[in-house]
């Protein structure tokens, strides 16, 4: 049943122009960053050769692209999650799903899964971009892998939070602004966390992503991401269930 919902979400996403425009936009921005870094790399290459243990193309070109990708996904996730529940509620179509013999968690997980499949497409496009560097050099596959895992996990966090905000309202625009506000807040927290070496940095999603982006798989970060995802998915299911009890 989760698969039925996920398929429906993907179909609805790709029949609207939104998904295509976003995919094109993401690719445009990331390719730009990619080419910019490539240019910079070619310029400093002679100097790099004089260093004993120089950073490779993966560190200089691909890591910044993944870092940028995380920020771009932070910006666009609210646009994708806003419809998921808020629009269903506004168009009275949520009734169809609730009256069908499926559970609330199937509905929420199906929607989450549909969105994650979309993000997997985005990530695989970035991977294709990275692999194109094989034409002129060697890649650090370990770093590429950790960056990919990190991007996948952080986008899942964005999606879970977005779905939860979408479950709170019947106005897609409010859902988008709410989710964007909170995600931006989490980003700013990262900037503060850079200055002070305090507890703040433990809550910043992008700070945790930075470890992955440097090639580290920190179990603490993995746990934080997974807890974040599970918390917001459970909150969404509870929110929808609660609506039946006392709206």
């Amino acid at each position: 049943m989760i698969a039925v919902i996920a398929r429906k979400e993907l179909r609805m996403l790709f029949t609207s122009p939104l998904a295509w425009i976003l995919l094109a936009l993401i690719q445009l921005i990331l390719t730009w960053v990619f080419l910019g870094r490539l240019d910079a790399f070619l310029e400093i290459q002679p100097q790099l050769l004089q260093i004993a243990n120089p950073p490779g193309i993966t560190e200089i070109i691909i890591s910044p692209v993944f870092a940028m990708a995380a920020i771009v996904l932070l910006m666009i996730t609210p646009l994708l999650t806003m419809r998921l529940l808020a629009e269903e509620r506004r168009n009275h179509t949520l009734v169809l799903l609730i009256s069908a013999p499926i559970s609330m968690s199937d509905i929420v997980l199906g929607k989450f899964l549909g969105l994650m499949i979309f993000f997997l497409m985005v990530i695989s496009l970035i991977l294709v971009l990275s692999v194109s560097l094989l034409a002129g050099g060697v890649l650090d596959y370990g770093l590429l892998l950790t960056s990919t895992i990190g991007l996948f996990l952080i986008s899942a966090c964005f999606a879970a939070l977005g779905i939860y905000i979408s479950s709170l309202t019947a106005q897609p625009v409010i859902a988008a602004i709410g989710a964007l506000g909170i995600l931006l807040g989490l980003w700013i927290m990262d900037l503060i966390a850079n200055d002070a070496d305090g507890w703040m940095q433990y809550f910043s999603l992008l700070k945790h992503f930075e470890y992955f982006n440097r090639g580290l798989i920190d179990t603490f970060s993995v746990t934080y991401f997974i807890l974040f995802i599970v918390t917001f998915l459970v909150l969404t299911i509870r929110c929808l269930d609660g609506e039946r009890l006392n709206n």
């Binding site: 039925v4 029949t15 009275h92 949520l94 009734v95 069908a100 013999p101 559970s103 039946r244 709206n247």
Partner: protein
């Protein structure tokens, strides 16, 4: 006793529902036999829609129990809901899908086997007069056709109980007649609950009528009995639900 429970497809006991301090539905019981069409009447705000939302699991009752084909709606929601078809007041349609895509999705949501889906789809479109609309986008259809898609959605899995909330609102007289015929046809195999404001509709389609007023069930009688007694449905309805006696006398005098 056991024979009676088998014959009953839906049995709701003492349903109550409060919104904060406001009592929307109070102590409502509904029992439905197989092959029976029940008309649920009542003025606006009498609690018809709330009752129907409770019967379909969209709203949890504050008190009371609901059994559907022997399954408790709260202990065993999946089995219970698979016997239900529900058309809410606003048909739950995805405007950007075609009729075929939409009905296909509904069939899958109701766990119809993949092999059986094309047949179910064709049959349902046939019954609802949607044959040549399969590839139309839903938002391009007229209100009457959208309403038919809504009904198609409620009957595609051949449920034992079909709950229709004001299915003929906003339709032209021809469409109303067609929908009534369809409801009669559905009533031959399933139990149907139908809420409406139109008294003549109840007269022409229903076997039994229940009237709600201010959240309570105030009247429950088979239409055949009413006819035997020579009681007019409209007189009963006005007597039971007209708020202001003074007004009513004036209406009667007119």
């Amino acid at each position: 006793m056991s024979e009676q429970t088998i014959a009953l497809t839906l049995s709701a006991q003492n349903l109550c529902r409060n919104y904060g301090d406001h009592v929307a539905v109070h102590n409502v019981s509904i029992q439905l036999k197989r092959g029976e069409v029940l008309g649920l009447l009542g003025p606006n705000g009498a609690g018809k829609t709330t009752t129907m939302r409770m019967l379909t699991g969209n709203l949890a009752p504050s008190a009371g129990s609901i059994r559907i084909c022997g399954f408790d709606l709260f202990d065993n929601p999946y089995n219970a809901k698979s016997h239900l078809g529900y058309l809410p007041e606003t048909p739950p349609l995805y405007q950007d899908m075609t009729v075929n895509e939409y009905l296909h999705l509904v069939a899958r949501l109701h766990r119809i086997e993949s092999r059986a889906i094309p047949t179910a789809l064709e049959e349902t479109k046939q019954r609802c007069g949607l044959n040549d609309r399969g590839s139309h986008l839903i938002h391009t259809l007229s209100k009457g056709f959208q309403q038919r898609v809504g009904i198609a959605q409620a009957i595609i899995h051949s449920p034992d109980i079909i709950i229709l909330d004001e299915p003929t609102v906003g339709l032209d007289p021809n469409q109303i007649r067609e929908i009534r015929l369809l409801i009669r046809e559905l009533g031959a195999t399933s139990s149907v609950i139908l809420s409406t404001h139109i008294l003549s509709e109840v007269d022409s389609v229903c076997d039994r009528v229940q009237i709600m007023h201010q959240g309570c069930m105030v009247f429950d009688e088979a239409l055949a009995d009413l006819r035997l007694k020579g009681i007019n449905l409209e007189t009963i309805f006005t007597q039971l639900t007209f708020q202001n006696r003074g007004n009513m006398d004036r209406v009667e005098a007119a």
